[in-house]
Amino acid sequence: METFNNSKPILLFLLLPCLLLYSLIAFNSSSVEAAMHTNNWAVLVCTSRFWFNYRHMANTLSLYRTVKRLGIPDERIILMLADDMACNTRNKYPAQVFNNENHRLNLYGDNVEVDYRGYEVTVENFLRVLTGRHETAVPRSKRLLSDEGSHILLYMTGHGGDEFLKFQDSEELQSHDLADAVKQMKEKHRFKELLIMVDTCQAATLFNQLQSPGVLAIGSSMKGENSYSHHLDSDVGVSVVDRFTYYTLAFFERLNIYDNASLSSSFSSYNPSLLMSTAYYRKDLYKRNLEEVPVTNFFGSVMETIHTDAAYKALSRINSGRFEAQTSLDQSVHHIEKRMPMKVNDQEETHNIIPEGEEGASKCPWSTFWNKFRKGENVDTLVNYGLVAMIPLLVISTWLVQ
């Protein structure tokens, strides 16, 4: 511990020129790359309506549930649904939406916040959400308020075809509309990285026209292939989930908020024979290695926390010095310390034991003891000894006086 304290200024001296160099390089390239990953957003769109498209709504709601479970709060999710399944008169289980015939999960629980519902799910609204060009009266909950440090997950499901996606049986979104919107987003620094996941027929054609850097896209099927539903629920009467989403969920249900499974493991978990189509992903626009990117970069939300005691006017904590060194090193690295809250407790406990060992090793015990007592350290150990000594004192006094 003491050597670390001594070497802290040396480390800083070494780091300073490195940081200077890095910042110079970063200044020349586009400013977005220098931005730190700050938050995660999710835009989940179900483009179908009517009872026989139950599975599309179930797809979207399943992904909504996954994304919420892994940490993204409702404020950063835009959910667009036709929302006519749960309370449909043909629904045998009113107010319940299932994605599996075992009916284990009710996706339409008491915690679903739909931002665009019914006839509001249009191509115009979708593009307005992506580009951020809303009318002034649109509330904040319906806006995608991302910034240059955001990672956005865009999930779309419904009926699609060669370079188009059908919206609510009345309009289409074409692939170049989508590419234009993404380009506008890039110009306006509305994302740092974007993952587009599409589960429709011939999905991969939808992102043929994309050109913006930092975009990763995966579709459930290639040109000329259909995406199939997974199984039919004979009780509800319709198919309840699509294959691509089903296997996506099978991958995610095993994860919790602290796992760091990589994107490449997620993408390679799709088996074409099980999907009955080829899940195609496009990574030429995405510069990072997929093996290093954890899925929670898009599907979850784990924030890097920096611990401060500034609000409390008490004496400094025992290991605040250690924290400052760590955070200054972390700033230049995109490494999220997922286990930091749990590490705090371990460090606290180990650090409490260390001073006791140091006390025993000192040469002149009484003077060092008195110094430490005046400084306010080791008070707890002294009182502990006093408490423990109370019991033998009691026993002895009782026995003697008797």
């Binding site: 025992i318 707890d380 009182v383 006093g386 009691l394």
Partner: protein, 467 residues
């Protein structure tokens, strides 16, 4: 025959003890301790375990444990029990270590109650022997009051709930019982230690100094001095050896010395541990000040919260004084009337302050119900015993229901819950009053036996003992 009966009695006693400990352990293994620690009847702002955990966390974060008005107990408890709040063992329920500590505290209290009870009974039989009344009493059924009291304490649902519900009442009760045990057995340092710790943990056991002084000065419960004089004067002889000893001041001075020693020790330890956070004054303000000024008005099974929720600010201090003097003004008359029975006086004091303290809980009631067992022989013809028993059962069943109706369902209001609290207070008052009158009846019976005997010895006829 007597020995065999005693042996059987002691075996069944240990069976009951083991059964109650096993029952506690079973309840501890239920998930979340059956959520008993969230019941207002069990955990009050003074005894709540959750608050102790919060105080410990605050201390570990280098802040005063009394910050935020969450923890209001002793800093020594924080040091002893604090680490138990965070220690988790794999595969066991969350607070198993602290629950085990409570179980052990209950066991120790029960053993001490038993020892004190046996002590009491022996002393009482000895005094009856010196009054030559043993033959009359031997005919009627005498229960081993120590065993009965210990079993009442252990198997009382209130005690079990307070133990499983993670409150600090078992430890406070243990301190009070330690004090009474030490005083009965004339172990003065132990009595002083128990008294200092009990006062330090919760303020009210301070009034137990009076029964302790009587216990140390004169000895355990005995019939009034007058009866002895009557007995022996009417016999025509004043046999000095048969008279009980007079009041001696020596033990009391030693008790004062030892309590000074222990209180200085405890205060120094507290002062050291709170040096950076305001010292002893902060501690007194947050513990004793909190108890006396009734800052927290969350509902409990007492009667103060409802009143102080609606009292005007102008009159608040006045009514605080009234409520606390309510306990204090009963001390002197009871002491005058019952000074020859210090253990019984202690029981009455415990019952009074358990009822009228600022934040009562079922753990406090468990204490005096256990001490009640010492006097089963005297209370054998207490009036209203069935009414009281049914009342206690009814209140303990209805109170959670009313709380649920008020807080969770919203179909009731505070009056529902306060009604059960008032009924509970009335029951306790009836218990105390009937208890005292039963004890006085017992003494009248003894006097009648003695005067009847002397009359018969004069007139030469045998008297029949009244049932």
């Amino acid at each position: 025959m007597e020995k065999l009966k005693k042996k059987i009695g002691s075996i069944s006693f240990w069976k009951w003890v083991i059964a109650s400990v096993i029952f506690r352990l079973i309840l501890i293994y239920f998930p979340q301790n059956l959520n008993l620690s969230s019941r207002p009847e069990v955990s009050t702002p003074l005894t709540s375990f959750r608050r102790l955990a919060e105080g410990y966390w605050l201390k570990q974060s280098s802040m005063s444990p009394y910050a935020g008005s969450m923890y209001h107990g002793s800093p020594l408890l924080l040091l002893l029990l604090g680490p138990l709040t965070v220690k988790r063992i794999e595969g066991q329920p969350n607070h198993i270590l602290y629950s085990l500590v409570s179980v052990i505290a209950d066991l120790v209290s029960a053993m001490l109650i038993r020892a004190t009870g046996q002590n009491l009974q022996l002393a009482y039989l000895r005094t009856l022997g010196s009054l030559d009344l043993v033959k009359q009493i031997e005919g009627s059924e005498i229960h081993p009051s120590g065993d009965v009291a210990a079993l009442i304490y252990l198997c009382n649902p209130f005690t079990i709930v307070a133990c499983v519900g993670l409150s600090t009442s078992p430890i406070e009760n243990m301190a009070v019982i330690l004090c009474l045990y030490g005083a009965c057995s004339r172990l003065i340092p132990l009595a002083a230690f128990g008294w200092v710790i009990a006062t330090h943990l919760s303020l009210y056991p301070a009034i137990l100094i009076i029964p302790v002084i009587f216990l140390l000065g004169r000895g355990p419960d005995a019939p009034p001095w007058k009866l002895f004089l009557q007995r022996h004067q009417q016999n025509g002889m004043l046999n000095q050896s048969k008279l009980p000893p007079g009041f001696s001041w020596g033990p009391i001075i030693r008790f004062a010395f030892w309590s000074l020693v222990w209180s200085v020790y405890v205060l120094v330890l507290c002062g050291i541990s709170l040096k950076q956070f305001g010292g002893l004054w902060e501690m007194f303000k947050s513990t004793y000040g909190f108890i006396l000024t009734v800052e927290d008005l969350s509902p409990n099974i007492g009667v103060l919260w409802y009143f102080f929720a609606e009292v005007f600010e102008f009159f608040r201090s006045f009514f605080l004084i009234v409520f606390h003097v309510n306990i204090l003004f009963m001390i002197l008359p009871l002491a005058i009337r019952l000074h020859h029975r210090p253990c019984y006086l202690a029981f009455v004091y415990v019952a009074i302050f358990s009822m009228l303290k600022s934040y009562p809980s079922v753990g406090d009631s468990a204490l005096y119900l256990g001490l009640l067992g010492w006097f089963v022989n005297e209370f054998s013809d207490m009036q209203f015993s069935l009414f009281l028993f049914c009342g206690y059962v009814g209140v303990s069943l209805l109170s959670p229901v009313m709380h649920n109706l008020w807080i969770w369902r919203g179909t009731g209001n505070a009056n529902f819950y306060f009604a059960t609290a008032m009924v509970y207070a009335c029951l306790q008052i009836v218990l105390v009053v009937e208890g005292v009158s039963a004890m006085l009846n017992h003494e009248r019976k003894l006097r009648r036996l003695i005067t009847g005997k002397t009359q018969d010895s004069k007139s030469g006829l045998l008297s029949d003992s009244s049932p």
